[in-house]
Symmetry: C2
Subunit: 336 residues, 2 copies
């Protein structure tokens, strides 16, 4: 509550992920719940595939938690598609009050923050957060027309085809389930970057801003956490963030990583700047990071999803890229 | 809390609106705080004008409440533009944690619901909700290419150029300020309408669904309220809603109206189906409805913002239009 920190107490009851071929072939491939090697998920369009991926991920999370849709009080969801149609169509089949979000690639942490706040304060017993991105739908929307043989910039990132779904509820006693304990919502920051092929650089100052405000407000330091992980700064943005944090007196050191660096094999999979997209941090959190709390490998983590809030039009109009980073402190359930 | 109803207690400390020429010339023209007869708000692009309109409306609300941006804990904002750039750029100047929303034209009620929940549960002392739409930016995005001399359909609605901003906080004792007391978040519904020129028809079933669930859960009836007002069903959707509610056993009668019906002179201003857009319900609530609580003209109202969640792509792909309606119960502050 003080200085922008939100105190929370919400257990992640279940999490699930659905991904495409490239993600399935990456270093975390075996972690994900569902993988469709056609990237189509049985749909006729890429936008339809993204919706279907959300529906599958959320259905899987529901069945892991042994819940039905009507057991949930609210659903917080969003994606990168214009008018967030990935979520609106993907989750239409479920009979749950729906809060649509747009936080670009910060949607995973934004949704989990709101879902956790609703549970912490007893507004509803259980809520969910769902998000997604699809490489082909994003290319069509953000980068059409794509020139034949055009070289991708070294700092350009690869949109993850993936959807992550999370169900949160009251923390049970002595549960090992990861618990969301504090959050720091991000402030939109813009530091002069207008290159849509270098979104990591645009987003790094937003992540720095949120981290510094959080460390200051909570009187903690990077060394108090097992892991500090950002959503999709990728290789370029991640390295900028480390420089910025060192200059601020909070060196992150080797406890820092980024979901966009983890999800692909950088050179073998030809991904240049690393992974990005709402689905990037969502599937890595759901299927790689959260299980480490149950296994005891992690007990205290800072997780930030980072979003670049520009549109293709705002870029063409010469505007700089504003960005936002939402932070969650996640701890092992048996801590405290 | 029970059956989907959220109990709230948040006073609207200040509300402000900025509108364009057509809105200023309409029947509510004198109510609005700011009106730019050029629709440009000093910006070079229509998208920039929408951002600037948000900045002005929010600044006006802050100054009415005698607050600075840093006095607010969170800002809930969204608009119709791709990637919600109206809000991201418009509110960039303010040093406030930012939750981006996408609820199409339901954003006003969605934002106020979340802002009120954060205040009610003491997460922050004061929060804000801001939204906007701009006729020219919306035409460019949704309806380009516009054929020369093309006839608009009789059910087509006119996107309101306007932005509404609201600051909510703890209710003071014996204050006359309007207070948000209960809310019912909407479930996304789709009933087979795929005509983007008849969004009122697509949204009416969502409004019906939320209203019926609310009346049922709270054991109230339409006659318990002075006014029941929807966001932008317009003339077609409003009349469909009245038919649906009558069939459900909850006739709305003459206490029902719609912001999209109120904001323009239907025939003189050539608006066909009425007003629409995120800004429609926001400016009518901010500058026409809320002041009626302070004057004592209204003491208990149901306010619903209604959103059609399709995109131009989903329409071209032949998909039906899903819709959502979020409800707020607003009462006079000295009630209870």
């Amino acid at each position: 509550m003080s200085k922008g920190v939100i105190e929370l107490h919400a257990a992640v009851l279940a999490a699930a992920s659905a991904v495409g071929k490239k993600e399935g072939a990456g270093p975390l491939g075996k972690c994900f719940d569902l993988c469709d090697d056609t990237d189509r998920f049985g749909a006729k369009s890429w936008e339809g595939a993204e919706s279907e991926m959300q529906r599958m991920a959320f259905n899987t999370a529901l069945s892991k938690a042994r819940l039905r849709d009507t057991d949930l009080g609210a659903l917080f969801a969003g994606d990168l598609l214009n008018q967030c149609v990935g979520s609106a169509y993907g989750l239409l089949a479920f009979d749950i009050p729906y809060f649509g979000l747009y936080g670009a690639c910060s949607t995973c942490a934004e949704g989990l923050m709101l879902a956790s706040a609703f549970v912490t304060h007893g507004i509803f017993d259980r809520t969910a957060a769902v998000t997604s991105s699809h490489y082909c739908a994003a290319e069509r929307q953000y980068r059409t027309p794509i020139e034949y043989g055009g070289q991708r910039a070294p700092t350009a990132q690869w949109t993850v085809t993936g959807s992550g779904a999370f169900i949160v509820g009251n923390a049970e006693k002595r549960s090992k389930k990861a618990t969301i304990r504090r959050a720091m919502p991000g402030i939109v920051r813009e530091r002069g970057i207008n290159d849509a092929n270098n979104m990591g650089a645009a987003m790094a100052p937003a992540a720095e801003d949120t981290l510094v405000r959080f460390f200051h407000a909570t009187q903690t330091r990077p060394s108090d956490y097992d892991l500090i992980v950002t959503g999709d700064l990728g290789f370029e943005g991640g390295s900028i963030l480390c420089d910025l944090m060192r200059a601020d007196g909070y060196p992150l050191g080797n406890r820092y990583t980024d979901c966009g660096q983890l999800i692909y094999r950088r050179y073998e999979q030809d991904v240049h700047g690393g992974g990005s997209g709402c689905g990037c941090s969502a599937v890595v959190l759901a299927s790689y990071l959260l299980p480490k709390f149950e296994s005891g490998e992690l007990s205290r983590m800072l997780f930030l999803s980072t979003g670049a809030m520009m549109s293709p039009d705002s870029i063409k109009q010469g505007q700089n890229i504003p960005a936002v980073a939402h932070l969650l402190e996640i701890t092992s359930g048996n801590l405290l």
